[in-house]
Symmetry: C2
């Protein structure tokens, strides 16, 4: 282990660099021309607009007001000032709950730090195992459990403190789950009318030879939910159309770019090349070329639209079915419709923004196969990812490059360049893989076929968590590739594994302290600077923006990357839990991480991020579960460690903890999870009753009509044929009604009348 001084110096350097980031941020954010990068959320809200000082032109770009620089750190208290209810209102529950994860870290680890520094550090420090063994050791080691002699009575202190830690963590977790579950229910209850409250996503509508999908859905729900069914919206397979629209948008951007260029410099008519990425091919006039291309695409798009709307094959066996009441939708979402449980599958519709449209077109039978393949792929990705990287690394050597691009030979031959390539290339391949990893995992989740963005993010986060657990945490403790670990684990007894791993844990404290500083602190500080969006915004602003509306579009507020950032937080939770009694010196670093992160992300969700969807904290059960996994790992490792220290009496004491933790998890699951999965009928009924009292003439059908239309139709304002049986002479079998119920025809009539009355 490094000495206390080394760690001190390293911490100072890292703190300074983090501070440098913060200062850079503080200065950049005060410049008006960066305003849209650092405060996009307020622009999107329409509360803030481009600075239009009547001063000199330069003041439009650079802030010359010195007073503001003096208070350059005042964003920090500002970020903390907004109370939570307002924050939920402002940024949504997802974001508000997301930053509560950091707060949870503080709640757990501040008491940990205090207790372990008061009790464990003196206990470790005053023993003299390392002295007696005549080893070279540092002060840091003396603070850790390594300094306690084997079989010492002092381990009782560790076990006792660990018990306190465990119960404290469980208590905090329980309170947090309770709070978030009630927040969620309150949030859902206080929300305004939203289409997804009335709507259910129906998948796997069985084919019918006599009826179209739309007719079949209408008939089925009229028969089986006679009092509640209102309308439905079929889903078109518009994936190709969406592609075309995307392509057209990109071409239009280029057109605007060249037009701008031409306007600024009318003498030089801009040209482009027709080949790939405009790198080769014949040179043509850029504006003409792109105009022609856009026209071509527009035509193709119109044809495709025509095809999608008219071809019955482009209608998927999927529909968004809406009900007259929230109660009706809640009932339909929670019940099984048909005796074949793979047909007429109903689930809550995600909110329209949250729908991942391409996956709605996947045939249901494929899903099982896709999931199996992805599970196997995830296994190989986690344990064997080094193999392809090693292959790339072996290719990407000097000789390989010389072969592929011979004209670079003279440059490569230079010694300086050569050494850089040889030094960096292997690392770069790994780095690129790690940067791409969240995207790869997201693609895998997409292949699995989930239909909402929020669920896709949650699934990717789960995969990423596994990867980090195996390759970062275990990979750092047991050196060697994941595959070697796997091999070792398979060949070791269930008893040995925690021992092997546990015994190595104290040795790696220094490494994880450094990791926390470099990856954690610096990463958080870099997050607030938003370097990439800053550069892209200025590029776009220079080349593409003509109107205020363009500038609006050039802003990239971004959003919380739940899929990649939550698993990383979990790593710090895991480190804190594992090292809490083993090497308490790690804890302050974790606390600083959580504190800094809380501050920064609170600022970001207030001023920057614009969430793409709102899932009302649906991710919390996952977060909770991963924390439980972390706790169990820490308990097993401590058990292993202590049994190598001749404190074997501790095992029966410690074995209680995992059992208790799993039991706690089950209780929490029973108690709270359904708040995240189901929608209680009582709440639905209350909202329905209230709505009926306050807005008796509401025309819900009009409101829901276009809610779930593929965005490609919505954005392009293409008319899509909607509900079919608008006419009065509804062909539905009236024999299935008793006299004291309305036929759907009647209720429709009454709703139409009421809507007419209102209009």
């Amino acid at each position: 282990m490094a000495s206390l001084q080394d760690i001190g110096v390293s911490a100072a350097i890292n703190l300074l660099s983090a501070f440098a980031f913060l200062v850079a941020f503080a200065i950049l954010r005060l410049q008006p021309f960066n305003d849209r990068v650092y405060f996009p959320k307020w622009y999107l809200r329409g509360i803030r607009s481009s600075p239009t000082h009547s001063g000199a032109l330069v003041r439009k770009f650079v802030n010359l007001d010195c007073r503001t620089y003096i208070r350059f750190l005042n964003w920090m208290p500002a970020a903390l000032r907004m109370p939570e209810p307002e924050l939920i209102q402002h940024a949504g529950l997802d974001s508000a709950v997301y930053i509560r994860i950091y707060l949870l870290g503080l709640k757990i680890f501040i008491p940990f730090t205090v207790l372990s520094f008061v009790v464990l550090v003196p206990v470790n420090w005053t023993d003299r195992r390392l002295e007696s063994m005549d080893l070279t050791y540092s002060d840091l080691d003396k603070l850790s459990i390594s300094n306690v002699s084997a079989g010492s009575k002092r381990f009782w202190a560790h076990i006792l403190v660990f018990y306190v830690f465990t119960f404290w963590t469980l208590y905090v977790l329980y309170k947090e789950y309770e709070k978030i579950a009630s927040s969620r229910l309150h949030f859902l209850a206080s929300q305004k009318r939203r289409p997804d409250q009335y709507t259910v996503l129906v998948r796997n509508v069985p084919p019918d030879t006599d009826e179209s999908v739309s007719e079949h859905v209408e008939h089925f729900f009229c028969v089986n939910h006679p009092d509640h069914y209102l309308t439905h919206q079929v889903v078109y397979n518009a994936n190709r159309l969406a592609n075309l629209v995307e392509q057209k948008k990109s071409l239009q951007n280029w057109l605007i770019y060249y037009q701008n260029k031409y306007e600024r410099n009318p003498k030089n008519k801009p040209t482009t090349k027709t080949g790939f990425w405009s790198l080769w091919g014949t040179t043509v006039d850029a504006i003409d070329y792109y105009t022609a291309e856009i026209e071509k695409l527009s035509k193709e798009e119109a044809e495709e639209t025509e095809r999608v709307i008219s071809d019955p094959k482009s209608i998927m066996p999927v529909a968004f079915v809406s009900f007259k009441t929230r109660w009706g939708a809640a009932v339909c979402a929670q019940t099984q419709q048909s005796s074949n449980p793979t047909l007429w599958l109903t689930e809550w519709a995600p909110e329209p923004r949250d729908v991942y449209w391409p996956n709605l077109a996947i045939p249901f039978v494929e899903l099982n196969v896709r999931k199996l393949i992805m599970a196997v792929a995830l296994f190989f990705l986690t344990f064997f990812f080094m193999i392809p990287i090693a292959f790339v690394q072996s290719l990407a050597n000097i000789e390989g490059i010389q072969k592929v691009v011979p004209f670079l030979k003279p440059i490569i031959k230079k010694k300086f360049v050569k050494s850089i390539i040889q030094g960096f290339l292997p690392g770069i391949a790994l780095k690129i893989f790690l940067i791409l990893l969240p995207t790869i995992l997201m693609t895998m989740s997409k292949i699995e076929g989930f239909t909402s963005l929020s669920y896709l993010e949650r699934r990717s986060a789960g995969k990423y968590h596994l990867f980090i657990l195996v390759n970062v945490f275990l990979g750092s403790i047991i050196t060697g590739t994941a595959f070697e670990q796997l091999h070792q684990f398979v060949n070791e007894s269930a008893n040995e594994i925690p021992k092997t791993v546990g015994a190595t844990v104290p040795m790696k404290a220094t490494f994880f302290i450094t990791y926390t500083m470099v990856d954690g602190w610096a990463g958080i500080a870099a997050e607030i600077l938003r370097l990439v969006p800053l550069i892209i915004f200025h590029l776009k602003n220079t080349f593409l923006v003509k109107t205020e509306k363009d500038r609006e579009q050039a802003m990239d507020p971004g959003s919380i990357a739940f899929a990649s950032s939550e698993p990383r937080i979990q790593l710090y939770f895991l480190l804190g839990l594992v090292y809490s009694v083993v090497a308490p010196i790690l804890l302050p670093f974790i606390v600083v991480f959580f504190g800094l992160a809380y501050l920064v992300f609170r600022h970001q969700i207030i001023n920057v991020y614009d969430q793409k969807y709102e899932s009302a904290a649906a991710f919390w059960p996952d977060v909770h579960w991963r924390l439980i996994i972390g706790m169990i790992i820490s308990q097993l490792l401590l058990m292993g460690l202590l049994s190598t220290k001749d404190a074997e009496l501790s095992t029966p004491l410690l074995v209680v903890l995992p059992i208790l933790t799993i039991w706690f998890h089950r209780i929490c699951k029973n108690r709270f999870e359904s708040a995240f999965v189901k929608f209680p009928l009582q709440d639905a009924m209350v909202k329905d009753t209230l709505e009926r009292a306050t807005e008796p003439n509401l025309n819900l059908k009009n409101y829901l009509q276009d809610a779930y239309i593929h965005p490609v139709f919505k954005d392009n304002q293409i008319e899509v044929p909607t509900a079919i049986y608008e006419d009065e002479n509804n062909p539905l079998v009236p024999t299935r009604r008793t006299s004291n119920r309305n036929t759907p025809g009647e209720s429709k009539r009454s709703s139409e009348i009421s809507s007419e009355g209102r209009v």
Copy 2:
């Protein structure tokens, strides 16, 4: 291993003894005075009545018709003759599906036997490992995989055949699950009106300071299921009352016994002793004594009834809520009612016979703790059950007995008696434990707090399966107590365990062949003889029976003991799967077991058993899951075995199978399980519509009024206050209705009118 001849002799002996049982049965069943023991089901159906031949008295007891003895085996074809739909009609779906488990065994293992005798036996026989090793070996060993040399190419045959077996088993399992799921749906759909179709069990009704439980339930469901709620029945804590009734019944039996005795021998007035089990205490006149005791109990019973009905504290926060339609009940059972998911818990009501009343009184908060304690207890029971038994065995030696009952000393001192005691006592303690085990497990399940008999049985079966798996299967393969195995497993690597176990498997083939014959064949043959019910019936018949009705009650038709017999079947499945490629010689014995069992149980369910409840084959997902477990165990063991035989290339090939099997299980679960858990709305709607058309004037409320009353009230015809708000001026808030819906008051009125019209 024993030689082929040994096994042949043993098989002959066992076959003969089984045959002896069958002959004994064939003779006993033909005697008229045993008729009620061997054909109770037909008596309960009212189709058969006591033999009243006009012949000699002796013919009433003994069958003197010689011709019937010639055809004494004709019950066998008779048992097979009844077609399945009629069987379902006659014995219920539970029984019909239960015997399909045996049929499934035949379907799986007959092709196994054929294929392995055609392919594997020659492959094993023609190799010469055992010869070359100069070991003593028998013919049996030559038939098993032990005869194949290490690293031989012949193992490909085993792997190939194992693949075929696996796919065949999966195919048969899939088909069976499909068949049973559709049978269940068909059975449920074709059933007549039953109270449980309309009823939902609501647990954990929250306390309310202003309202009684009954009022609270009424209000809650009137508000949240306004169009569907019909009535409800609260649950009284009548456990003490039920005890009193039970005691009284037993006293009455004794009274009848002494009255009968007195009638037959009027000179001698019967006396009894007042102490424990009438063994000691003052001697009194028996008839007077029991009459007085019964009177005392009757008074106590009346008081208790009064208390239960009038005391609001005896009303549990549990209710059976009935709905106007099956659709309404299906909706309520499948949805969450309140935002607190531990309140207003709804589930399908079990049918009235199936309700386990004592557990309805358990407070809901206790359940989590009870489950944890029982899980820990099950663990200790499974792995440490030998400890208390060894303790009892150490006490139950000659000296111990002499101390406790000194007057037996002279008898014990005799050498013959002494040797018997010393030889048998230790075995008896274990045997008693094993006989009591299903009862212990059932008690544990009851403590866990499940509310229906069928579910209790299923849970007990799960526990018993674990016990058999660990203590019979693994315990026989790896000698040593379960605790020693556990210790070994914890200390061995995940890789080693299948190797250690797998390598021992072939050596135990002889043992399991013997086990199959002694436990399986003989057990099944004894089952048909019904020795215990036979004796008890004749005892009761002699001492208690006066009227024909008494004789009816003296019959004990019994029922399938699912909780104890299904896990035993699973053991034979497991043996068949594990030994299918290792020692195919075991397979014919398994096949004979399944064939014999199928025949016997088919006879029993047709003629004997009277099921206490009907769960419509709700146990099938459990059976399926345990078969999957068996398959995975067999795959792992074969993997382990082959890797010790230097056929390590086989591992990657075989590792695919468990993954495939688990995936198959998930598909089956998705595809079929909901048929056993949920009730689809479509089917409910069809039945509702049909009912409305055929019986428009049905008074459902009257029909459901008394369906879910505690049996103690029903049997004793005690009037219990039922639904409360019968009057028209229902105090429910009418503001929550829109004009196009009925208030519950209205609907009640209309149903009352219709019922009046009918009456």
